[in-house]
């Protein structure tokens, strides 16, 4: 439903988005993950048709956004980074305006407006002017506007920003149920959100797409470089040799522990086979005193930081 083919965006001589390609299919929620300033909002705006790509092709529901954005707009619901609200209007008249522009048939309009009001829990504020609403309500009026007319494609730029934990859960539920038979692209920098509701995750930094896979796939890919961390007291060279000789250990790094001088922090990169950490524990505990041993599970957070960290050092390398 959404397809980007080697899309780039330049402002003057500055390239904001470098050659991004990915697609979102019907019935799929894709999370768009990246630190602030990574290019998430610019990419969202190109898909929504607010700005055009400098090169490459963006298609929404089969329509090219460069030439047929009017047709594509009918299939699209979009919640921008800042909810686009008219402060002086009441919630109901704001939603009515959007419904009219989206050509919701007059006969079913009231029912459709009531549907999104219910989905976004706006019953209490329907007749209030928008400037009187709290940040959480404003965000949800923005979401309600995007859901109006049951669009085939939904673009949500940080939909849970400014919501309290209860509202976040409700909003995720709304998005999850909507995603069952629509295409949803959701940008966020909140990691648990992605693991909870997204089928696939696209990681972006410095305008480049670093990875796109299911949360599990990303996790498995990085399990190959699992890490075991130890806290030991003993001679550094002997410990290194002992651990290195164990089958399944790829590399060993030893540094003095910052807080307690006599202790050493040991980080071992190990492969996926079972029992490696037990073998390390036996080898070390037999000769020296082992204070702590843990196998670090690759959380999405670690994976994300690794991708983002790598791309950060790459791009500084390029600039030099």
């Amino acid at each position: 439903m959404i397809a980007l083919e080697s899309v780039s965006k330049r402002y003057g001589s500055k390239t904001i988005i470098h050659d991004i390609s990915f697609s979102v299919e019907k019935g799929e929620i894709v999370g768009f993950l990246g630190p602030n300033g990574a290019g998430k909002t610019t990419t969202m705006r190109m898909i929504a048709g607010f700005t055009t790509a400098t090169s490459g092709r963006v298609t929404v529901a089969g329509y090219d956004m460069a030439s047929q954005n009017g047709e594509a707009a009918k299939k699209l619901g979009y919640l921008p980074e800042h909810p686009p609200l008219y402060d002086v209007l009441e919630v109901s008249s704001y939603l009515r305006f959007v419904a009219k522009v989206k050509r919701v048939p007059r006969a079913g309009m009231q029912r459709e407006i009531e549907r999104v009001i219910q989905a976004c829990r706006l019953e209490a504020v329907v007749h209030k002017e928008i400037y009187k609403l709290s940040k959480g309500y404003r965000q949800r009026v923005g979401l309600a506007q995007a859901l109006l007319g049951d669009p085939e494609v939904l673009l949500l730029d940080e939909p849970t920003a400014g919501l309290d934990p209860g509202q976040i859960q409700e909003t995720r539920e709304v998005i999850r149920s909507f995603g069952e038979n629509h295409a949803v692209l959701l940008s966020t920098h909140i990691l648990p959100e992605v693991t909870l509701i997204c089928r696939r995750v696209a990681i972006i930094n410095h305008g480049r797409l670093l990875a796109i896979d299911s949360p599990n796939g990303l996790q498995q890919a990085s399990e190959k470089t699992n890490q075991v961390s130890l806290l030991v007291s003993g001679p550094a060279d002997a410990i290194r040799d002992a651990i290195r000789s164990i089958d399944g250990v790829n590399s060993v790094q030893i540094r003095p522990n910052g807080t307690r001088g006599e202790l050493l922090s040991v980080d071992c990169q190990v492969d996926v086979r079972d029992g490696v950490e037990a073998a390390i524990a036996r080898a070390v505990a037999a000769r020296w005193s082992l204070h702590r041993l843990e196998r670090q599970q690759p959380t999405l957070e670690n994976i994300f930081l690794r991708y983002v960290g790598d791309s950060g050092s790459n791009s500084t390398g390029e600039n030099e």
């Binding site: 929504a48 009017g70 921008p80 686009p84 609200l85 002086v88 009219k100 522009v101």
Partner: protein, 235 residues
């Protein structure tokens, strides 16, 4: 057409949900009422001629307040992102807003007709001349609104939009005065042709000249076309 209508209704309800429409209409009526009373009772001439001239100046200074928020407000309120991603063509946005502001113009023009009651009760004015004056006033007002709306689309600051529009409209109003300083006949007729006041003068005298009508309509059309192409270019 539905999109245009929705934008028009939104604009109109936003005018009346903020103080702007009330303020502009109130100041315009106060000003017009003052000049009407001054012209009729102090000079003792039972026509609208001088009052129409004064209404023209009031219009030129008040229209920028009416039009300043049309696009600047959308930019600064970040709602332009909504308008330009909804199934709306740029011309629908431009015309919807234009008709919204034009409706306020028509309301304030019609409201001045209350002055005609004493005029017709106690004087003997020419109805056709007054009608021509009102037609000219509306046409000039439509041109001013189009110009103000175009300048509003260039900046996200409403005050800046108004500050650009005021001198531009004043220039169109007063440009006829430059005729006296020109040696060449071509320049004289150019300044005369561009003058809002001189075309309006024809209407006030009861002349419905097609040249004057076409002039105001062309100015409106040019401003609205520039406005639409600017929105397209911004993407």
């Amino acid at each position: 057409m539905n999109g245009l209508l929705a934008v028009y209704q939104k604009e109109l309800s936003m005018y009346f949900r903020s103080p702007i429409a009330y303020f502009v209409i109130a100041v315009f009526l106060l000003g017009t009422g003052y000049f009407f009373v001054y012209n009729i009772f102090l000079t003792g001439i039972g026509t609208m001629d001088q009052t129409f001239q004064n209404m023209g100046i009031l219009l030129v200074t008040l229209v920028p307040i009416l039009t300043m928020r049309l696009f600047s407000g959308e930019y600064s309120g970040r709602t332009m992102e909504l308008l330009s991603t909804l199934p709306l063509q740029p011309w629908q946005i431009v015309l919807g807003k234009y008709f919204g502001a034009a409706t306020i113009l028509v309301i304030m023009t019609l409201a001045t007709c209350i002055n005609l009651i004493p005029l017709f009760l106690y004087g003997n004015p020419e109805a056709t001349t007054i009608l021509a004056g009102y037609i000219g006033f509306l046409l000039m007002g439509l041109a001013c609104v189009a110009i103000g709306q175009f300048f509003s689309s260039l900046t996200q600051n409403q005050i800046v939009a108004a500050l650009i529009t005021v001198p531009v409209l004043l220039a169109f109003w007063f440009v006829g005065h430059l005729q006296g300083f020109q040696g060449s006949a071509a320049m004289r007729s150019l300044f005369g042709y561009l003058s809002f006041a001189m075309h309006f003068g024809d209407f006030i005298r009861g002349l419905l000249r097609s040249e004057a009508m076409v002039f105001y309509l062309v100015v409106s059309a040019v401003a609205l076309t520039l406005n639409t192409s600017y929105l397209q270019w911004r993407r």
